[in-house]
């Protein structure tokens, strides 16, 4: 059954996601300058999209994918805005 395969692979997904969260969190705290932290935040946003998709898979509800879609469409706006702010053109 496909659901049982999902049940096993979800453990692998969650382990990898937590590893990614840990590394980007280290860069977020330690990053000496502001652009380092901006990039860390961007990676955390991407990881958040992945987490939302995995949760939709785990709860077996297709409609939860809409939340991930919103992040995927809009999340780059904040990074672009901060980049414009840093070069002085906002």
């Amino acid at each position: 059954m496909p659901y049982e395969i999902y049940g096993l692979t979800v453990y692998v997904y969650v382990g990898l996601i937590m590893l990614g969260v840990l590394f980007s969190l280290v860069r977020f705290v330690a990053g000496p300058s502001a652009p380092d932290r901006v990039v860390a935040t961007d990676i955390l946003t991407t990881i958040t999209t992945v987490v939302l998709v995995v949760l939709a898979l785990f709860f077996k509800r297709q409609i939860y994918l809409d939340v991930a879609l919103v992040y995927a469409v809009l999340a780059f706006t904040a990074v672009v805005a901060i980049a414009r702010f840093l070069e002085g053109g906002l």
Partner: protein
């Protein structure tokens, strides 16, 4: 609630705590704004875990760009560092 979800939730609550401390301790307001954006990300995941997709989609739409934009426009006027 499943053990896997609980493990992920406690891992993400670590992110929440760290981001809150970054908001508290940083002298650079840009970094504080980034910390508040990260708090919003984790809150959106928590809302989906608590089976509230309507609230999660609203928090995602707000936190993905609008809050950061409003704060940046105000920060351009009010100065970037805490001292002045």
């Amino acid at each position: 609630m499943n053990n896997l979800i609980l493990f992920m939730g406690f891992g993400l609550s670590l992110v929440l705590v760290v981001a809150t401390f970054v908001v508290w301790l940083s002298k650079d307001l840009l970094v504080a704004i980034l910390g508040s954006a990260v708090v919003s990300l984790v809150a959106s995941i928590f809302f989906l875990i608590l089976q509230a997709p309507d609230v999660a989609i609203t928090e995602a739409a707000i936190g993905a760009g609008l809050t950061t934009g409003i704060l940046l426009y105000a920060m351009k006027k009010a100065g970037r560092y805490e001292d002045d």
